[in-house]
Subunit: 429 residues, 2 copies
């Protein structure tokens, strides 16, 4: 029923395991130049429960950057076999190093995750993610082989060929970026196939945040079950938290990570169930452990037990980045709120674009929204009514009335990678 | 001294191992629909030496295509964990399936190959090859991790970032396409670095056929040792044959493959040391063995013992494809002959292009040749003399006088992938 019995360990045993692994992790971490200094004076015997982690300092992205390239390593570089790095286009990159043991542990977590949402060794997985320095490609790839699925390293792009492979090899599981999934479904139809006749049954769509409405739209258009997940390269990559077949939040693998949710302003834990910044600690990484990492991702713990029997707590889908927050006229807005609101309306198509502009002395938000063909009628009056309704719904959500522009299906440019949803053209003066 | 003691096994023991593995391979192969029929009536007890393989039928690319997708498999599809496929842009693709055991054996061969040319676990390898369905990327990647090198999955493209990674992580081994290596060396200089100051020491450049002269030019411009290798996806991918540190031909791993060289017209073995088509049989593949595969690649066995002590025979660099042969005015010409001749001349730059055209009723060859800046003088007479000299040298090699056009450095368009060297614009009437 589970890939690993640890998934259903009772909470007291799970917390004892966390404590033991946290103590070991701290002992290892102290061998790195960075934590050697940062944790100096720590008495590991003071760590008696997972909650004792709150006595330790946070680690930030800037800390990782300041240690680039080797300052976080706990052993000689020659004992590492893999490196992933962020692009570093906006400053010093961050680099994550893995020993063979770290890669094995990661592949196991990834295999466990895919098993939880119904993948089995009899499945055929097509990995439509780019490979390379980005952890999404190789992360899914190694986990899929570990689970024993026939793994097709298709990579990104070349839609026609992707469709041919899916049909020829009866692909049942796809790893696909959510913002590309709807475009892909449309291409399948343009090639003359019915998405209901495709062999697929599971889509892994965790690569970028998306709303529940976007997921339902993908499921409907592709005739597939789509599962959300969460990961970040600082915590290995994908496979940190994954939905089970019940699709009620993502089980965060607590034998491998300690997760906390804090108020990003105060650094204190939020009340149970409140949204805040996710903070994570590795418990099984031997080469480059990271303690209390500030992910900048906003989420909350979901209350209650999951029907699947797994005891690891579930987190809600990511509600945005602490850094992505738009501040407009003194109001805090997360782009996810706008997507959530738009995707709930049946007239709205697949794509939208938020633009921030300065007009005169005041900043404005414009939202360009694609409308489905059947609603894009020539009757000016009903279009204007729709436009007003969208603006009103958005105002209810974000407490500001944006200017809404309706456009035809396919008129907002699409990329095959992550979608650009916000363009900030405000005057910087 | 060797990654695996089998590399220096004495010939009689090696041949006994080959015979034993060939017999096992035939027994396994007969479980597939294709070989079940093709090998019907074969008595495995008739196979007593590796040479007895000549009694078996060849397998061609068309055979593989006719069995697409599953006809070559010896076990249920769910026992396979990886698939690689050719692009199939010009017809039915070919698909190669791997079990976990096959991937392990391939990674071992790849690790052994890199060890043979001096790579060690203390090295840092940057894989500049594209990943995905092409076997070159993941093949090198898995072998590098197996050997214990710190592996950077950089992928293709983004030259500036590649240079940054190489400098930041003190990359000592690069996997780079030979036709891209010279372009890359130039970019390194344009970024203001001296190639002599880069941390690299080994370039693995086996991804496409090239001449000895091209290798020496890469070594000189990059201040690196460059090693050639041979592989094809039908025989796993890279890691079939690899140069050792002596750079005198590529050791073909005879415990994993039986290699034959035949006259492509008659199918008979050529005389020892003669050039012909390489034919290969897998000896360790359990999921999808292939018997006597016609590679269409032209090479020869090199005579004598290698100073490294490895007993596995060496093949010469690939002299072309049986299919790439140009027939012009009744003469057989391999593009490699032209490259060989051009790269031997100190005035010639990095790039050239062969164009075949019809003029009136007769076909002609034009060769556009880039000349190094220091030789591209304004003195018409000396340029004309150089042009004549190139035409004469080419005529000595290919027995035809092509029309030679001299162009300035960088005037032939370059791609980041495989170089296009021949354009056939002959009238098809």
């Amino acid at each position: 029923m589970y890939f690993d019995p640890v998934e259903a360990l009772d909470r007291p045993a799970l917390e004892r395991l966390q404590t033991e692994r946290l103590r070991r992790t701290l002992a290892i971490a102290a061998r790195s130049p960075f934590y050697g200094e940062r944790l100096a004076g720590l008495n590991i015997d003071d760590i008696r429960t997972p909650d004792d982690i709150t006595s330790l300092p946070f680690t930030t992205k800037d800390d990782l950057r300041s240690q680039y390239p080797y300052g976080m390593l706990t052993r000689p570089q020659e004992e590492f076999v893999r490196l992933h790095a962020s692009s570093g286009t906006t400053g010093t990159p961050t680099a994550i190093f893995y020993t063979q043991g770290d890669l094995d542990a990661w592949a196991d977590l990834m295999a466990r995750s895919m098993y939880a949402c119904g993948c089995r060794k009899t499945d055929v997985l097509q990995n439509m993610s780019g490979y390379g320095l980005f952890t999404g490609g190789l992360g899914i790839h190694y986990g899929s082989e570990r689970l024993g699925m026939l793994t097709i390293p298709a990579g990104a792009g070349n839609t026609k060929r992707q469709i041919k492979l899916i049909r020829d090899f009866k692909v049942t599981v796809m790893h696909i970026i959510p913002s590309f999934a709807l475009y892909f479904a449309q291409k399948v139809r343009e090639e003359g196939f019915d998405t209901a006749d495709m062999p697929w049954r599971i889509a892994l769509i965790g690569a970028e945040p998306h709303t529940e409405e976007a997921r339902r739209k993908i499921e409907e258009m592709m005739h597939i079950k789509a599962y959300n997940s969460y990961g970040l390269s600082e915590m290995n990559g994908p496979g940190v938290a994954f939905e089970c077949e019940h699709q009620t939040g993502m089980h965060l693998w607590e034998d491998a990570y300690i997760a906390e949710i804090i108020n990003p302003e105060t650094g204190e834990h939020v009340a149970e169930g409140e949204v805040g910044e996710l903070v994570m600690t590795t418990l099984t990484r031997e080469g480059m452990p990271i303690i209390r990492y500030r992910t900048r991702d906003l989420t909350r713990f979901l209350p209650g037990q999951c029907a699947c029997g797994r005891t690891h707590r579930r987190i809600d889908r990511i509600a945005g980045r602490a850094d992505d927050m738009i501040i407009l006229k003194g109001v805090n807005i997360y782009p996810m709120q706008i997507e959530h609101c738009l995707m709930a309306m049946p007239e709205v198509g697949q794509n939208y674009l938020i633009e921030l502009v300065t007009e005169g002395v005041s900043d404005q938000m414009k939202v360009k929204v694609e409308i489905k063909d059947e609603f894009f009628v020539e009757d000016m009056r009903s279009l204007q009514a729709l436009q007003k309704r969208i603006a009103k719904n958005l105002c209810n959500e974000i407490l500001l009335t944006p200017r809404v522009e309706l456009v035809q299906h396919d008129s907002i440019p699409k990329t095959e990678g992550k979608a650009v949803r916000v363009v900030d053209n405000r005057s910087k003066e």
